[in-house]
């Protein structure tokens, strides 16, 4: 007697599964055999089948087209907002220490040198409102590879789309854009950038704006120096990195007392917006400050951006020896 009771209890899960169309063939067979001999269980089976039919009737009806349209629209709005806010980041090792790269849908948003004292991963990202940082995917790997290529001297152009949303003002944005246009191996001054954006008196503001460059390396603020050629500041307090980046690009530096200077007498020069580049001794160039000049580390860097050798001083015939 108790044997049968145990059997009924044991078979219950399979019985229910069988009634609800969820049983494996073996289990269904065992249930079939059991209920042939067991009337109470047969009745149970019927009860569960009836419940299953009722459950089947509770299956949710498809969402109406109009309801679905509303859902779609609300989600589209939510997604658009999320896309604007969402920033994917990764932290990489580099010869310059740990670097954080963050991208939005629009482009690279932040490049940050991490490290120093304290938490090596503490980033500005945590403090920026209106952005949702998410650890990001493989797409940032390409940027990392480019960056390594640049730091190794192999890559001369980081053609990354830029998202300048972290610019603090319209002025800041203009400064960053003008700086972004500086080619590889070229150097100019804060004063010249100020002139370029139509605000020749805003030299200190330009320097300040570049101090807060959210995209170092990519927006090459390392290529902007004092009008005298003195390197001035970088990324708050990392002048060593500025020197290193300039070195990678072939810009020669001199040390004068404690300050580093661009070796302008060993660099080609482009006066103003001339379409030619000259030797440093050409015409009035020696008397001009970098407020009026762009310097180039090599003929190649000048010619890559479409400049022609000056027809007077002929840098093509008398290149500067290195």
């Amino acid at each position: 007697m108790s044997n049968t009771l145990n059997e009924c209890l044991r078979i219950q899960p399979d019985l229910v599964a069988s009634a609800t169309g969820d049983a494996e063939p073996d289990a269904a067979r065992r249930v079939g055999e059991h209920v042939r001999a067991c009337a109470p269980c047969r009745e149970e089976l019927e009860q569960y089948r009836a419940i299953d039919r009722v459950i089947g009737d509770l299956r949710p009806t498809p969402v109406s087209d109009s309801e679905l349209a509303i859902l779609r629209e609300e989600l589209a709005t939510g997604l658009a907002d999320l896309r604007r806010r969402l920033v994917r980041y990764r932290i990489f090792r580099s010869p310059l220490g740990r670097i954080l790269i963050a991208t939005s849908e629009a482009g690279v948003v932040l490049v940050e040198y991490l490290g120093g004292r304290g938490d090596p991963t503490a980033s500005r990202l945590d403090r920026i409102r209106g952005m949702e940082p998410v650890e990001g995917g493989a797409e940032i790997d390409d940027l990392y590879r480019d960056l390594l290529g640049y730091l190794g001297g192999a890559t001369r152009r980081l053609g990354w789309p830029l998202d300048l949303r972290l610019a603090r003002s319209e002025f800041h944005r203009e400064v960053l854009e003008a700086t972004a246009a500086l080619p590889y191996g070229a150097v100019t001054s804060y004063a010249r950038i100020a002139r370029q954006i139509g605000k020749p008196d805003a030299v200190r503001a330009v320097a300040q704006a570049l101090r807060w460059n959210p995209l170092p390396i990519v927006v090459p603020c390392h290529r902007v120096v004092g009008a005298s050629g003195a390197l001035a500041g970088y990324a708050g307090d990392r002048p060593a990195i500025k020197e290193r980046l300039l070195g990678i690009e072939g810009v020669l530096l001199e040390r004068d007392r404690r300050e580093a200077h661009v070796a302008r007498d060993r660099m080609y020069a482009r006066p103003g917006r001339e379409q030619e580049y000259c030797l440093p001794t050409c015409g009035s160039i020696p008397s001009l400050t970098l407020a009026r000049l762009t310097l180039f580390a090599s003929r190649e860097s000048a010619e890559t951006v479409g400049l022609r050798p000056c027809t007077s001083c002929r840098p093509d015939l008398h290149p500067i020896s290195r």
Binding site: P13, A17, A50, V54, I55, P62, L71, L79, L82, R88
Partner: protein
């Protein structure tokens, strides 16, 4: 790449996830379904190309439903009572239909009051035909445990309807 753009994911699954949440929760299906897809969007680039996207979405939605269900039982009971009162009582129709509707209402009430894991397991299995592996994944349990949840759910329904005559059952 072998993976659809996110828009295609939304188009393919938004309706069903909403239906699921409408049954799995009370009054928040719209919000939770939106949140499901926002979470999915964030995580989508990390999803392996061969992943079962539908099952993954159900897991996200289930997670949200479970988090939401705390403190929900009383709201749920009230809502079910309201929902039942809205239904046509069918007393004018044929007796069989009326009895079926009555049974349906009773079963619905029991389902709405099931413990959250049993309720969600039942819904995922019976209404959305998710295999037990995926039900388990959604509920953070093994497929066997998921099966057990469904079994327990049916048993609870059965015992709640003890004295009621279910339509279509032959007695004796």
């Amino acid at each position: 790449m072998g993976r659809d753009p996110f828009e295609a994911v939304v188009t393919a699954h938004q309706g069903e996830i909403y239906r699921y949440l409408r049954r799995a929760t009370v009054g928040v299906a719209e919000d939770l379904s939106q949140e499901t897809f926002l979470r999915a969007y964030r995580a989508y680039p990390s999803l392996p190309a061969d992943a079962n996207v539908r099952a993954w979405l159900f897991a996200i939605a289930t997670n949200l439903a479970r988090n939401h269900s705390r403190g929900e039982r009383r709201r749920r009971a009230a809502y079910t009572a309201f929902r039942s009162s809205q239904r046509e009582d069918g007393s004018e129709g044929p007796e069989g239909a009326a009895r079926f509707i009555e049974a349906r209402t009773a079963v619905e009430a029991v389902v709405d009051r099931l413990p959250v894991k049993q309720r969600l397991a039942l819904i995922l299995r019976k209404f959305h035909d998710l295999p037990y592996e995926e039900v388990g994944r959604s509920l953070d349990c093994s497929p066997e445990a998921a099966r057990a949840h469904v079994f327990q759910a049916f048993r609870k329904i059965r015992h709640s309807l003890e004295d009621r005559e279910l339509p279509g059952v032959e007695v004796g």
